[in-house]
Amino acid sequence: MTNIADTKNAEALAAANKVSDYEWGFSSDIEQEFAPKGLSEDTVRFISAKKNEPEWMLDWRLKAYRYWLTMETPHWAKLNIPPIDYQDAYYYAAPKAKKQLGSLDEVDPEILRVYEKLGIPLEEQKMLAGVEGARKVAVDAVFDSVSVATTFRKELEEAGVIFRSISEAIREYPEQVKKWLGKVVPMHDNYFAALNCAVFSDGTFVYIPEGVRCPMELSTYFRINAENTGQFERTLIVADKGSYVSYLEGCTAPMRDENQLHAAVVELVILDDAEIKYSTVQNWYPGDAEGKGGIYNFVTKRALCQGKNSKVSWTQVETGSAVTWKYPSCVLNGENSVGEFYSVAVTNNHQQADTGTKMIHNGKNSRSTIVSKGISAGKSNGTYRGLVKVAANADGVRNFTQCDSLLLGDQCGAHTVPYIEVKNPTAQIEHEATTSKISDDQLFYAMQRGLDQESAVALIVNGFAKEVLQQLPMEFAVEAQKLLGISLEGSVG
């Protein structure tokens, strides 16, 4: 028989620990092989050599590096960031290769334990354990910049889908990679994109052939695990004509005192009648309650809807990072192409987020939808920044934008900065924005019905974010709902 008092004590202790620590703040001890500290052409050469890259790739990296040297950090975002010393960081860290791995069973148990702590969704655990009837999700596990294991490769190969770490793809499918790498986000696009081009350590390449509906959802788990190591992921997904893929990206990071730099680039290419659904849950370490530490997250994500009737849908739940600078965008070149952006961004304590999207309408009758839900608590600031642009020859364009902000407490801020540039008179652009607070009435009502304060806040916030959360694949939606509650713990009362 369980002793109730003991159980209660254990629960209280667990709850106290959860509040006092970042729940997933831990670091595991795996041998690292570092590139020399700091950033120089030598660093770039070291990384390229580590990856056994062909000459053209090294040249491309060096070109980007030299370009980066001439650029300046962007300052237009509503973010307060101390200057970053790029020479005071490591740009490459990888677990030492032990042997070629055939399955996840052979993965370093230390790494598996990290995944366990991360709470990889139950569905996937079942799948990994080989439970019959579990939904299939292929996991290309990126552990500290290097792909450790890839599951379900065979089934994907039978469908003709290429799902590889980008390093492998550069070696095995150089033509495919060369064709699109840097075409959606050019190396000179912005400061952080140029940096990424020079030093990206690994990432993912996906190619879905013509007419293929990817037989499973693709999921990559990113994780930063070395002190002072920036993580520079590079993702390229190409959906050929009439194909479909749903890609999930989720991440948490261990607790570190010093700020960690993250500058990823994600490029999506969508050809005629194809569709990519890209979902992200981002939960990197946000820093402590006083604003010390936390990840700097400068991400460039862009989708090129090149083909007619092509479609891209970005869904993001952003709860982590000390600083978020991120604008997943859609370049809608194709006739009748469709771009969607669904976002929930939570900031608490001293977090800052400047996030939104760009919808660039170049194609006739292209359509876009933007639904942004910002939740600010503590002393944090959240900004929605979005551009809707319609080219002169793009007839019949439609856009609908909805930006809602929810405030908890009276020391946080929510800002909405829409940019609308329309050069074609047939365009229909709608923009709606609201700002509200969680009211004491709502909280008391929910608590009177039996919910404690944290659950009441979580419930109300999840209701606020529902339109976005319901865009997520099921296993992510459940995780994201919990995450919203966890992120806002202690923010009221």
Partner: protein
């Protein structure tokens, strides 16, 4: 079941309840009537534990427990239900989700097993049917876009689902037409008129009492109970007004 002894409540510096005492036994229905500003809503919120309503002295015992020592959600789990004068809207959260989470949170605190989705829906459907509310409304976000009458009806459905020991119903009759009033009155009788339950009705008017017969009627004025009696007191009040009685 409920024993309020010399209760003083202040909002900020202002004392609203000034020594209120009231005893309610299981199986009883009490009505508190009184003019605006007498402290009726303050009494409701104080018993519910709403932040900002500070008890400066006095004691409240509920079902053998010190009610004032409990957090609002613990009071709910102990069996206290407040029917709100102005039920609150919660956008994006369906009634079903809200009530299932609330009920299971209560059950957890009481050491009972949670209800599965199927089990909960069975209970919810039965209560909605009994209150003449269709399932579609149960699936809609909590009170969003509901008319005044629908909100009150929803409060009664919630009460039926949560099945409390004591219901404090704050001006549940306000904003109701005659038909809705009858439905709500029947709901109160059906769910709460039982030997192990009790009701405290807070109202301005006699009309709800035509449908829910109180065992005791109290007059609240200037923060305390100034007169108590049987159902006939309500009629007397209706006839002569508060000024006369409270004087």
């Amino acid at each position: 079941m409920l024993n309020i002894n010399n209760l003083h409540t202040a909002i900020g510096d202002k004392e609203i309840l000034k020594g209120l005492s009231l005893k309610i036994n299981a199986g009883e229905i009490h009505a508190i009537m009184g003019p605006n500003g007498a402290g009726k809503s303050t009494l409701t919120y104080t018993l519910g534990g709403r932040p900002g309503y500070e008890v400066t002295s006095g004691a409240v015992e509920f079902d053998g427990q010190d009610l004032l020592a409990l957090a609002p959600h613990e009071r709910a789990a102990a069996g206290l239900f407040l029917g709100f004068q102005y039920p609150v809207e919660i956008p994006g959260v369906s009634n079903v989700q809200f009530l299932r989470e609330a009920l299971n949170a209560q059950r957890k605190l009481r050491g009972e097993a949670p209800l599965s989705g199927g089990e909960f829906l069975k209970v919810a459907r039965a209560q909605a049917d009994a209150m003449g509310m269709n399932m579609d409304m149960l699936k809609r976000p909590v009170n969003v876009g509901f008319s005044g009458g629908e909100k009150k009806r929803n409060e009664m459905v919630q009460m039926g689902i949560l099945d409390p020991k004591l219901a404090i119903l704050d001006e549940t009759d306000s904003g109701l037409d005659i038909d809705a009033l009858r439905v709500v009155g029947e709901g109160i009788n059906r769910v709460m008129r039982k030997p192990d339950k009790a009701v405290l009705l807070i109202t301005h008017y006699q009309r709800l009492l035509d449908y829910v017969q109180p065992d005791f009627v109290h007059v609240l004025a200037a923060g305390r109970i100034v007169k108590s009696g049987g159902p006939e007191l309500a009629l007397e009040l209706e006839r002569e007004g508060y000024a006369e009685i409270a004087a």
